[in-house]
């Protein structure tokens, strides 16, 4: 009796709320999937239970691929995410190493500046930045994103990598230098390999951050074929008050899948990075 009672309590106070959270979390994604597969007569049928799907169709996906530049948006998003992540990692490894291991004048103030830029929201500066992008002749080109995304990727990655560099004992490097290796050599072949997990975490982060970026891409790009997925789906599939719901949800799902897969393989690193960044600071 007691055992059964306590099991019931556990179900009520633990399993119900926990799986309730999971259900609420996942429902919008299920909703995307179901909507993207429904024929219009089911989508716009008030009598039917909207959770159910009777006759699935790929019509909305066909429209997405044939009548919109969705493939192009995917390529754009990928190119921007990969290149800006690459640039940011190179910069951030240097910055993180310098701030964590080298002694120089102005170290603390430079560290403070880099950390502060991490906290500056895009929406505070997007209007003047659009003017700057225009002046540099980058408007409506993917370069506008490739060159501006590092501004929020570098501070985050540098901050995260600083933590990793600090955990590597200074003696390792000193030994190598006593043995005659130059500082650059010691950095390249001793410190960097040990910090690779950190570089990987930073890379995953940077990739998802640039994949998801919205306002810069919205403001800097205007022609349909230069857009990224989030902007393209939101702006090209909503025409005035007309929403192409099936294709919208198809696009939303396909735009979410790559980051979801990417991160599910590396969820341990991701959580490690998230907590290293947010908690250890």
């Amino acid at each position: 009796m007691i055992d059964r009672g306590s099991r019931l309590t556990r179900v009520l106070t633990f399993h119900v709320p926990l799986w309730g959270f999971v259900l609420l979390t996942l429902f919008p994604f299920y909703w995307m999937l179901v909507t993207s597969l429904k024929p219009d007569r089911e989508l716009y049928n008030v009598a039917m239970n909207p959770i159910l799907l009777r006759e699935p169709t790929l019509k909305h996906y066909r429209l997405l691929f044939e009548d919109t530049p969705f493939v192009r948006w995917t390529v754009n998003t990928m190119v921007v995410a990969v290149v800006s992540t690459g640039i940011s990692l190179v910069c951030a490894v240097g910055a993180g190493y310098a701030l964590a291991r080298l002694r120089f004048r102005g170290a603390s103030i430079i560290g403070l500046i880099i950390f502060t830029t991490y906290l500056i929201p895009h929406t505070l500066i997007f209007l003047p930045l659009a003017q700057v992008v225009h002046m540099l002749g980058l408007a409506n080109s993917l370069w506008a994103l490739i060159l501006t995304y590092p501004t929020f990727l570098i501070p985050f990655c540098a901050w995260l990598l600083m933590g990793y560099f600090k955990t590597i004992p200074l003696e390792l490097e000193e030994c190598a230098m006593i043995d005659g290796a130059s500082r650059l050599r010691a950095m390249w072949s001793i410190v960097l390999p040990l910090a690779l997990p950190g570089v990987l975490s930073a890379g995953i982060f940077a990739f998802t951050l640039s994949w998801n970026e919205f306002i810069y891409a919205l403001v800097f790009l205007s022609s349909p074929e230069t857009k990224t997925i989030p902007i393209g789906v939101v702006s090209e599939l909503i025409k005035g008050d007309v929403f192409y719901w099936g294709s919208l949800m198809a696009g939303a799902l396909l735009g979410s899948v790559p980051v979801a897969i990417f991160y599910s393989f590396l969820v341990e690193h991701y959580v490690g990075g998230l907590t290293a960044g947010a908690v250890k600071g």
Partner: protein
Amino acid sequence: MPAVSHQIALKRSNGSACWWLLAPLERQDLLAYVLLFPSLLFLGVFVGYPFLFGVWLSLSNKLVGHEGSFVGLANFLANWESSIFRQTVRNTLLYTVIATILRLVFGMALALLMNCHFRLKNIARAALLLPWIVPTALSTLAWIWIFDDRYGIVNWLIVHWGIAKRGPIWLGDPTLAMMAIIAVNVWRGIPFFGITILAALQSVPEELYEAAAIDGADRLRRFRHVTLPSIMPVVVIVLLLNVIWTFSDFQVVHVLTRGGPANSTHVFSTLAYQVGMGAGRIGVGASIALSMFPVLAVVVLVVLIRMGRRD
């Protein structure tokens, strides 16, 4: 002597033509400046300069395609006279306070649940992080359709469960639309709170709990006197970061309502976008965006001080 020759030998061994070029980098300070230069260049050109330029724009009457001229604080004064701007200030504050509190409460609950052992924990954790991972603009699209007054699931449930004969027009009513915006923001923000607080919970030393248990503290007391004080520093930082992010948020409002109906759900960023990009009044738009600065500056300063103290 042998040691010296050994060193020379090693130096020669990596002595290529560019060795002379790299030699100065053996000095710590020079190397540091060289390594930091690219990062600082990016931040200077694309953050520092735009920020200062934005201050100038906010003090000018610049329009798209026209040179602006200095107008002093005219934009800020005109904003304050505008009822839409005042509504925007109220909305942003309401949005930030309510969404952050709800994120904290649910995130804390989630972290406490996830701190237990149970089957399928890894799957649950991966699933729970999804809203934080996927592009917000895209998940918000699904929410528009969830809230749709005719074909959405929310209103279907309201009718189906007999709560009302007809569900409300969620995104067509100022108050309900604001509630919807907050709901989506909370849905998206819970995982970050949950996961960071969970990490903090797991770093509380087991001995503290044992000691408290020996002293006869019950579960509630242990939570209040051991758990809470230990995770507080993390909770405060996460809270402050979320205040910054929600206060300056753009995507949820832009996608869900575009500030409508009738400009009733704008926050600073969406109003700045509508005025600066939509209407081309860049000076006024910049002044609206810059109106976020005082609050942001205070919160950022608090974050910096707290982080500095922990180092």
